[in-house]
């Protein structure tokens, strides 16, 4: 079973191939436009893994939440590749991928994955880790202001991600000893998307290309004319 994985919901673009348990990953330096590098990186990581595109069994993608344009690029790429190769697509939460990266870098479960949603908000998701060392969601993902974020239960959570780094002082003050954190910068990456995608594929969670869709969480993106009038 060979899986291609794509993640570009943050400024870090990465692609990976999971080939019967072996992982190869390519990560693009920050500051380069994702679109310029996506296909060359996919070719490179397939070559690293010695897998031909025709041997792929599915394509996993970070479906968000995250930067809209980046998320859509991963989704559109997953759609194009899955449709062209006639293979299923596997949506993987970009917050789950972030938690998985955090776990690989020493985070202790339960893990609070926080992505920067801009406009004073974060995307938040809570995760536990299963016997195989893979994260699974234990709380609904949400878009929330750091001042309104709640920690479920009474245990200690380990926060990871750009959303934590952007609001660290506030979050530490609010939660005190209940919030542990990975201080280093951690991003959702394709290696994690690949691992989580492989589990999803085994569980029969592949979808047809046209059902490979983004998760935005932020649904209100503009005011209608009527709403603008009320505001004035």
């Amino acid at each position: 079973m060979n899986l291609l994985a794509i993640e570009c919901s943050t400024e870090v673009l990465s692609v990976a191939v999971w080939a019967s348990g072996e992982l190869c990953e390519r990560v693009q330096d920050v500051g380069v436009r994702h679109g310029d590098r996506l296909l060359p990186l996919i070719d490179a990581v397939l070559a690293d893994a010695r897998v031909d595109k025709l041997e792929l069994s599915a394509v996993a993608f970070g479906c968000g939440p995250g930067a809209f344009t980046g998320v859509r690029m991963a989704v559109a790429a997953a759609q194009g590749i899955a449709y062209g190769l006639d293979i299923p697509a596997l949506p993987v939460s970009s917050l789950a991928a972030l938690a998985q990266e955090g776990y690989a870098r020493g985070a202790v479960a339960p893990i609070l994955a926080l992505a920067d949603a801009r406009m004073g908000e974060v995307y938040a998701g809570g995760f536990e880790v299963d016997a195989e060392g893979l994260v699974y969601a234990v709380a609904d993902e949400q878009l929330v202001a750091p001042a309104e974020l709640a920690l479920p239960g009474d245990n200690i959570w380990c926060a990871v991600g750009p959303g934590f780094r952007a609001y660290a002082p506030l979050l530490r003050e609010r939660f005190g000893y209940r919030l542990d954190a990975i201080e280093r910068s951690v991003f959702p990456q394709a290696a994690a998307v690949a691992r989580l995608g492989a589990r999803a594929l085994r569980a029969g969670l592949g979808v047809p290309a046209r059902q490979a869709l983004p998760v935005y969480l932020r649904d209100k993106v503009a005011l209608t004319e009527a709403e603008r009038r009320v505001k004035q």
Binding site: R33, H34, G35, D36, R37, L38, L39, P40, I42, D43, K53, F68, T69, R72, M73, V75, A76, A77, Q79, G80, I81, Y83, G84, L85, D86, A209, R210, L213, P214, Y216, V221, A222, L223, T224, E225, A226
Partner: protein, 335 residues
């Protein structure tokens, strides 16, 4: 060569298959007009969100219509720009990755080149060279077209595009968005002689256009008259725009010696404009070519056609997924 065309520059998702031997095989379109209606204009983020939902179902639809499978495709053309960056990137990403998966070439097409070549989708197709009037929501251009990619700009708008003028005037008359077609319908019941608006720049040799002053005159007329005069105002406005466009086209034909005129872009669907250009060109022994109304506005067929002509001539591009939201038409080169 069978080419899939993908258009996502603004608020329509268009998909089509064009065959360089057999012509247009199939086309399908989803319009987002209803989605943006409450916002008074296109919301770029909402446009992108809709494109990604519609693209593959439309691809399935056109392949089924044409009785083809994805593996029968020889190339993918997509709109590279101008347009909304997020919307363009959505189509570009799908096009490039689909082509990569199928191991066929993908090529970005200039949106206005699509409009410009759209009359070639019809019978009889105009032969090169010709003059082209592109009158759309964002552009009013007069071009000399010697062949694919051989475009020279003869005239441009100094302010509003013709379609934009129609839409803004429609808004003044309370007709909603996008109001061009509604304004044209309202004008049918009005008397175009009862309001005489200026024909900007027709007293000068330039082939440039200007429509923003007209908008101001309409505003005054709307303020000074009751709603019972709206149809007359609409008719007067339409007559002024049509007169101006016709005058410039005929002048350009006379000056260039070209014998064919093609009209493209959404305003090209305007019946008054079509009628007047037919009369005017016939009197000069020239011909005028319009795409069917569905191919005047944004559509996948024109992108499939333009891409197919270039791909069949051997044009290729690198693997980068990109958009060109602001590229000039006259900067294009032949394949």
């Amino acid at each position: 060569m069978r080419v899939l065309g993908i258009e996502t520059s603004c608020d329509e998702t268009g998909v089509a298959v064009y065959d360089t031997e057999l012509g247009l095989r199939a086309h399908a379109l989803h319009t987002q007009a209803a989605l943006h209606q409450d916002y008074g204009g296109v919301v770029p983020e909402l446009a992108s969100r809709d494109h990604i939902l519609r693209l593959l179902p439309l691809v399935d639809e056109v392949l089924a219509q044409a009785r083809l499978t994805r593996r029968d495709l020889d190339g993918v053309a997509y709109t590279e720009g101008p347009g909304l960056i997020g919307a363009l990137l959505t189509g570009a990403t799908l096009a490039k990755t689909l082509a990569w998966a199928l191991a066929i070439p993908a090529l970005g097409v200039h949106h206005l080149e699509g409009h410009l070549l759209a009359p070639l989708l019809e019978e009889p197709a105009p032969a090169f060279p010709f003059l082209a009037l592109i009158v759309s929501g964002g552009h009013s251009l007069l071009m000399d077209v010697a062949g694919v990619g051989r475009y020279a700009l003869l005239g441009d708008t100094l302010d509003d595009a013709a379609g934009e003028a129609f839409d803004k005037t429609a808004k003044l008359l309370g007709l909603g968005y996008p109001g061009g077609p509604a304004l044209a319908r309202l004008a049918e019941s009005g008397d175009s002689a009862s309001f005489r608006f200026a024909r900007p720049l027709t007293d000068r040799p330039t082939l440039d256009f200007s429509f923003s002053g007209l908008k101001t005159q309409v505003l005054l007329a709307v303020q000074r008259n009751g709603p019972e005069r709206h149809a007359d105002i609409a008719a007067g406005f339409q007559a002024a725009v049509v007169d101006t466009l016709v005058w410039k086209c005929l002048r350009a034909l006379d000056e260039s010696g070209r014998e064919r005129l093609v009209v493209a872009g959404g305003v090209g669907a305007n019946l008054q404009l079509r009628e007047r250009l037919r009369e005017g060109t016939a009197r000069r022994g020239a011909s005028v070519h319009f795409p069917r109304p569905a191919f005047c506005t944004d559509n996948g067929a024109m992108i499939a056609l333009a891409g197919a002509l270039r791909l069949a001539a051997g044009e290729r591009e690198d693997a980068s997924i990109h958009a060109a939201p602001r590229r000039e038409l006259a900067s294009l080169t032949p394949p």
